[in-house]
């Protein structure tokens, strides 16, 4: 199938620091792709390149076969690329409904923007149900709990009906039940016409919901495949093990450290 998103040899330099180094990535229509990697691997930077927040130093990003490098952020949204942020940013002084309505209204003509919202549109009502925020619809978003804000942010994305959704750690800070709900929602979405790229750290979540995984490390794609394939990949184990060794200031593994090492290997190796 023709890929929706193609990242071709993208590199990003931050004042000499190479955050991305020749990344290639291809995501097909309807796919649910997980993007993993240790902290600082460049996952967020990669999403930034797709959405226009960061301009690649080299390489090209193509969406539905066309290069989007020249488009500004809001133009990319209008072509159908939506994203959520690692730290949820909703508009605190607007109510939940107003947040969703604003997200939905981006296709309205400028003149109708000057009219007052007289009711809750069908799209907004459906989304409220879907993300479970109907009960707090008229509250200011600033009064929501952290998990609710994340749901609202996802809702604002859904109500726009993007073709490609990029979610940056959508379940971080969520309760176990909220995680399960989010995972189910992701599957539901990917089953339809929508394509999803999800950044996620949490191994348990990954084992449960991931189909295809891309592993990023120090700005490079080091592995790609099903969850099982990736888990079996010695390079991936090395990446995570290497990090856990670094975390203990590069010292020779001491007897005390062994259990920690096992815990890490276990969490990657074990199948769900």
């Amino acid at each position: 199938m023709k890929p929706v998103l193609e990242v071709c040899g993208v590199s990003v330099d931050f004042d000499g620091f190479r955050a991305l180094d020749g990344v290639d990535l291809s995501v097909a229509r309807g796919e649910l792709r997980f993007l993993i990697g240790p902290n600082g691997a460049g996952k967020t930077t990669l999403v930034d390149c797709v959405t226009g927040l960061t301009r690649p130093t080299a390489g090209e990003v193509r969406f539905e076969g066309r290069s989007i490098d020249r488009l500004s952020e809001h133009q990319r949204v209008r072509t159908g690329i939506g994203r959520s942020f690692q730290t949820p940013t909703v508009f605190d002084s607007l109510t939940v409904v107003e947040n969703l309505d604003l997200a939905e209204s981006f296709r309205r003509s400028p003149l109708t923007m000057f009219l007052r919202r007289r009711r809750v549109t069908d799209g907004v009502a459906t989304t409220l149900e879907r993300v479970g925020l109907s009960a707090v619809a008229d509250r200011p978003a600033g009064a929501l709990s952290h998990g609710q804000k994340q749901w609202l942010e996802i809702g604002m994305l859904l109500v726009q009906g993007p073709k490609l959704l990029l979610l940056d750690e959508p379940v971080a800070g969520m309760s176990p039940q909220e995680r399960l709900d989010t995972g189910a929602l992701l599957h539901e979405l990917a089953g339809g016409d929508q394509t999803l790229v999800v950044i996620e750290h949490d191994m348990a979540f990954l084992r449960r919901f991931a189909r295809k995984v891309t592993v990023l490390h120090e700005g490079k794609v080091v592995s790609e495949g099903t969850v099982d394939e990736v888990q079996a990949d010695p390079i991936v184990r090395e990446v995570y093990l290497g990090r856990s060794r670094d975390a203990r200031s590069g010292a020779v593994p001491s007897p005390v450290a062994e259990p920690v090492l096992e815990a890490v290997t276990g969490s990657i190796g074990e199948t769900g």
Partner: protein, 375 residues
């Protein structure tokens, strides 16, 4: 939600408040009595128009426009030029021009102002066009906060300098004056001040009604969203530069209209009225009244100017210090301005009354309230 709860979007509450305010304006000249006071209040109503516009840009849009004097002045000069021409026979030069210049016929720049409607249109539209160009220039480049403030401030300074530097066309430092006939009425005839007051009152009501429509519309919500997080707005598919430019244009148009009404009320239009200092004071009115609420802006312009005139008539030297003190005290202790303080007081009162009545009304706090339960 209850009508007692402030901050809820209840159109009827706003309509009733608006009608009450309109009624108050209608009755005010009768209560004031003295024509001098009536003229004074007419002037303040013009300031309130500027403040409402500024509140849309600054309170709702987060754009600290420190040069509204430019737009106020453009409106005032447009109407002042028309009034200057009204004093002389058709086609002849305004009186200052025959003194300072060797023009033999009316310069092209002045010709459109022979028509009242052309002058009125220029007064409102020219500020909007200038604000539009300035806004696109600044916001498309993602210049924010302090730079925008300084840039707008500079435009007001430049405007005053241009006026002073073009004596032959603008009467320079002295400005335009001697409007004895105002739209066909004698300035000194009884009732003229009252009539000017009514024009200003209608102007303010129109500006307020438009501003209310704007801030309640989807665009108004978008403007607030842009103020709070420009990047997030961008990733909702909107161009924040356009959103902000439109807000700035609305503020400019309102200031222009205010200037056009203020010209006959002042009786004189000169550069000093529209320089950087008056521009900063306009921001102070909004800050004192309460940015982010339109009533606060109106209140601020009226109250600060009322105090100014009251104090400076008895102790002229103390006003500057008192003004500074007022501004500092409000910023330090009432970040929401007078309107914000009134609102919290009202909320407190309402909850006390509700408590006394034994009703179980919650959610009395206007702004952010802690969540009792999670859904």
């Amino acid at each position: 939600m209850s009508i007692l709860v402030p901050g809820t979007d209840n159109p009827w509450k706003a309509r009733i408040a608006f009608l009450a305010f309109a009624g108050g304006l209608l009755a005010l000249p009768g209560l004031l009595g003295s024509p001098g006071d009536v003229r004074q209040w007419a002037e303040w109503l013009c300031y309130a128009m500027v403040a409402v516009g500024l509140d849309v840009a600054w309170g709702y849009g987060g754009m600290l426009a420190l040069g509204q004097g430019l737009f106020f002045g453009l409106g005032a000069y447009a109407m002042g030029m028309h009034l200057s021409l009204e004093q002389v026979p058709d086609g002849s030069l305004p009186s200052f021009m025959s003194l300072y210049s060797d023009y033999t016929e009316l310069p092209a720049l002045w010709r459109p102002f022979q028509s009242f409607w052309a002058s009125a249109a220029v007064a409102v539209l020219l500020p909007m066009v200038i604000a539009g160009l300035l806004g696109l220039l600044v916001f498309k480049r993602r210049i924010r906060g302090p730079f925008f403030a300084i840039l707008t401030q500079a435009t007001a300074v430049i405007f005053a300098l241009v006026l002073i530097g073009n004596l032959k066309l603008t009467a320079g430092f002295n400005g335009l004056t001697g409007f004895t006939t105002i739209f066909g009425r004698n300035k000194y005839a009884p009732g003229t001040n009252r009539w000017l007051f009514q024009i200003a009152a209608v102007g303010l009501l129109v500006v307020l009604a438009v501003a209310m429509k704007v801030v309640r519309s989807r665009y108004g919500k978008l403007l607030v969203a842009t103020r709070d997080s420009e990047d997030r707005v961008r990733f909702l598919g909107y161009d924040p530069a356009l959103v902000k430019t439109v807000g700035f244009m609305i503020a400019a148009g309102m200031a222009g209209l205010a200037g056009a009404v203020a010209a006959p009320v002042f009786g004189i239009v000169s550069p000093g009225q529209f320089d950087y200092l008056p521009s900063i004071l306009m921001v102070c009115w909004v800050a004192v009244g309460g940015r982010g609420t339109l009533w606060g802006a109106v209140l601020g312009a009226l109250v600060v100017n009322w105090i100014r005139v009251t104090v400076s008539s008895s102790r002229p030297d103390d006003w500057l210090y008192l003004q500074g003190l007022l501004f500092v005290v409000v910023l330090a202790f009432m970040p929401g301005g007078v309107a914000g303080a009134l609102r919290s007081w009202w909320a407190w009162l309402a909850s006390a009354v509700a408590g006394r009545l034994g009703t179980r009304r919650t959610a009395m706090a206007p702004a952010v309230e802690p969540l009792g339960e999670t859904a």
